[in-house]
Structures are given as structure tokens and as C-alpha cells.
Amino acid sequence: MSTPQLVTLDFEEPVAEVQRQIDSLEQKPDAATFAEEIATLRQARDNLLEKTYANLSPWQTVRVARHPQRPQTLDYVRMICRDWCELHGDRRYRDDPSIVTGFARIGSMKCLVVGHHKGRSTEERIKCRFGCANPEGYRKALLKMQMAEKFRLPIVTLIDTPGAYPGLDSEERGQAEAIAVNLREMSRLRTPIVCCVIGEGGSGGALGIGVGDRVAMLQYSWYSVISPEGCAAILWKKANEQTNTAAATALALTAEANLRNGLVDAVIPEPHGGAHRNPQATAERLQSWIVDSVRELQRLAPETLVRLRFEKFRAIGSVAH
């Protein structure tokens, strides 16, 4: 599990400290004589990790969701998709690398995969604007989704964005219009759509590929109308550790809270210590949720599917009459 290059978050420091003790014992020439001690330490480390993750605050969850080693859309594609056939471009302006789309086979199922992509290397991250899509990204997604509908392919979307890109040219090219049209059109696509928030579900930029028949969240992802920092800056007048913590709690942005509030349909549990500690196990759980959900949805007639999808979003709201 803990590989030397694993990036440690501040609240994981006690776990890392035990790991360092294990490492130093293991590196001794007479390590074998410490076998019992090492085993005890490993047990202590695992317990500590489990305890830490069982008590994550919402803000700490956001930190895990943003962990630099957390699996991203193209990692899941590598792990769960066979015969990946990426499709580029919106046929209007250009190809936005911060949303990837393509045909794929997941198990025996053919589908279209759509996902935000943040990028791994510094160069790739900059190219992907850290997962903040431009209007052409949303338009590419819609174009491919409409093609999927035509060929009766189910759609799988993986959501992982801090938010849609706020820039000069994204405004000029109609960021708001691009997202709005996706919301309207996804609501009436006559093919199954399953969505999973795999990391960050930042506001309209997330929802822009998030209108589906089934919406899940990975256990340590977040989904909210605004980032905790954005919320803290406005409502608490400043963003710091304390106000970010308060805002993250107030926003009810964790998977568990969103499930409890009826805003998502499922939470996919992550391995101990988060998806980045065991991407493969996470991918397997994601895959079985996708396959099970699509299989269920494929039994429905297209009219029923679209009606139920409408009714699901139609029912969301909390008002007094």
C-alpha cells in the first residue's frame, strides 16, 4: 500500500510517521529479527489509516478528492475499458482535452464514455486547465452523446472538475449556453446515461455532463453548487483552513450527505485510505456499479427511461407551500 512516492496529506501525517518507522526497520540489514515489531507496526498503521478515513471532515474529503495521485478519467479508462476509441473535437471550434469522449467496451458492454480529465504531469494539467472545461468541451460531449443515442449505446460519464473554466474566451464562446444546452438535451436523450463523480463535482461544470438516469459518487468525492473556498470567500469573507472547513461542512458536499439528501442515487465505497491507495480495487467497484446500472436501465423502453429521468430531477427541491 504505502509506496515511498505516495503524497501525504497533512492529516495523514501520523500514518506516514508509522510508515517511516516500518521503512527504517525494513531497511536494516537484520530486518528479519524485527519481523514481529514490523507486523505490529503495520497493524497499527492500517488501524490508524482506517480510523483517519472513517472520521474525515468534509473539508478533508475535498482534499482527498483533489489528491494529486487520485485516479482520473483516463486512468479508469485504462483499467476498465477495452478497445478504447477516443473521439475528438466539437466540429465547431476545437478539441478540448479537459473533456474526453470515446467508444469503449466495459465488460461485454459497448458504450460511450465521457469524462472530465485533469491531467497528471504539469504540462498535461495546464493543457487540461486542471479539469476546467471550455464550452467546446461541453459541446463535444453533447455531440458524441447524441451520436451514442443514435446508435443506441449507453452513456457513461465520469465527473471530475473544480468547475467550468472562468475565462475571457470561454465567456465569449458561451460557457453558460453550452452547459444549459447540455442540461436540456441530456434530459431527453433516449439512451441510458449513468454518471459518477470520481473526484470533484464542481457546480454547473460538473452537472453539464451529469444529467443521468443513475448518478453515483465515489466515497471521497465531493459534489456541490460551489467549492468550499469559493463559498468561504463570499459568505465568510475569507478563505482559510478554518472557513474552508466550515464551508465544506455547511455545503453538505460529501457523497454520504448527497445520498442522504436524495441528490445522488449511490455511493461507491473506496478502498481503505482512498482511491489513490488502490486504484485497481476502486476501478473494479466502479465497473460493477456501471455494468449493473446500465443492465437495469437497458430493460426499460426509451420513453420510460426518459420519463423516469425527468421525474427524478423534477422531484428535487425543498419548498414550503
Partner: protein
Amino acid sequence: MAETSWESAGAATTKKSVPDGLWMPCDGCSETLFRKALEANLWVCPRCDHHHRISGRQRVEQLVDPDSFEPMNAKMAPMDPLQFRDLKAYTDRIRDAQRTTGENDGVQTGTGFVKGRKVALGCMDFTFLAGSMGSVIGEKLTRIIEHATDHDLPLVIVSCSGGARMMESGFSLMQMAKTSAALARFDDAGGLFISVLSDPTTGGVTASFAMLGDVILAEPKALIGFAGPRVIRQTIRQELPEGFQTAEFLKDAGFVDRIVHRSQLRSEIGRVIDYAGK
């Protein structure tokens, strides 16, 4: 998205769109104006043509034929599904806004006549928590869209909003999907939706129903955008060009059909309805 909007729209200090008193300074040219004269001029400055923000109720009065408005769901009021509290409790914010405005939340919906044509109408109200969209606005707009669908009425929504209502978090976000999905059904039924953008229209409102009009009209110089100017400035680390995110900018960029002076709004809506044969 909301971050923008709220800040740029000055939501932190929710103030009445037009201050009380016999005289008031124009928000555009600072000239001291006689309130009654300004009101008679639809709250447009006779000197500089600045279109002042007006409440949802004032908008309804301006748009529909006298005494023709029949409100719907007027009693619908916000809940506090998350028991949200920042420096102030959301319930206190709601109560204060209700006291100041006399409204239950930030949108008026109902039916009325515009120059003799019956319409389904929604008018957002910036005076109520910056017109931010929570469950009530989402639900009332969805219901008026459904009413328009069921009765084959042309639909007019006048947007005026700082974006999403943070205190309802995910509930607020999902109103974007809900209203947009209702508009898909209205569109399937052949309905005409005229979206009118007034100052300001930002965030989650722009990124949902406001940008989905068959015809999109905007008031002169209205601030219209997805992200707010402050967030964009921070992101790109440079000053924004003059006139960025104004109605005129949006029209040049291809996202607004027409800029319409407030005095012409009724007749413009009327003729679009006629062209669409609704």
C-alpha cells in the same frame, strides 16, 4: 459559478434595488432624479438611459396589461434543507429578505396578457437575496413552464439573478437540471420560450433556463455571464476589456438575439409571439 455572481451582484449586502425617498441619484450618471418621473419612465434614466434594476413585482406590472396578472404559487416559500449557517443562519437571511421585500422568495410567476396575448410569465427578483436560485425559484419556474406546456401558452421569463443560492447547495444546483428538463418537454410540445435577460443574469441561471430561449432578448448594458468578473480576473490575472459581459458583448458573440430598450419590451414580446404564431 455562484461565487462570481454573488459577489459582483453585491449580494453580500442585499440592498433594495431602488432606495426610498422623493429624489434619488441615477446609478448610471449620478444625476439626482425625481422618483416619480423615473418610475413613470419605467425606471430608465431620462438623461443617460441607464436601466435601473426593478423588482419582480415591478417587472410584472410593467409587462402585462393592467390587472391581467394572475399569480401562481405565490405562497411558496423556502425551507432550509441543510440547516445552513455561515456567519448568519440561512433562516435569518430568509426572514430578513422576506421582511425587507414583502415577498416569499425571488420570483413572481403567473399568467397575464401582454398587449392582449396571454402568456405564462416568470419575473425574477434581485431584491430577494440577489435573485439567487434556490428550490423555490426552481420549483415555481418549473411549474410555470409546465403550465405553459399544458395550456400551449407562450412562455416569458425575465431573468435577474446573481446565480445559484449557496445556502441550498446541491438542491440549488439541481434546479438547473430541473428547469432545463422542463424546458425540453416544453420544446418537444412546440412551445415558444422568450427569455429576457436583465441586469444581472449570471451563474447557474444563465447556465440553465436563461440561455435556452427560442428567442433571447436582453436589456441594454445588462451584465450577463457565467462566471463573474472578479473570478475571471483572478483566474486570468489581467484586467477585463471594456464592455466585457454586457448584453451588447453577448449579442456580438452570438448569444443574444436582440437588445431591447425597456420601453419596447412589451411590443417586442408581442411581435415575437405573433411571428411564432402562438
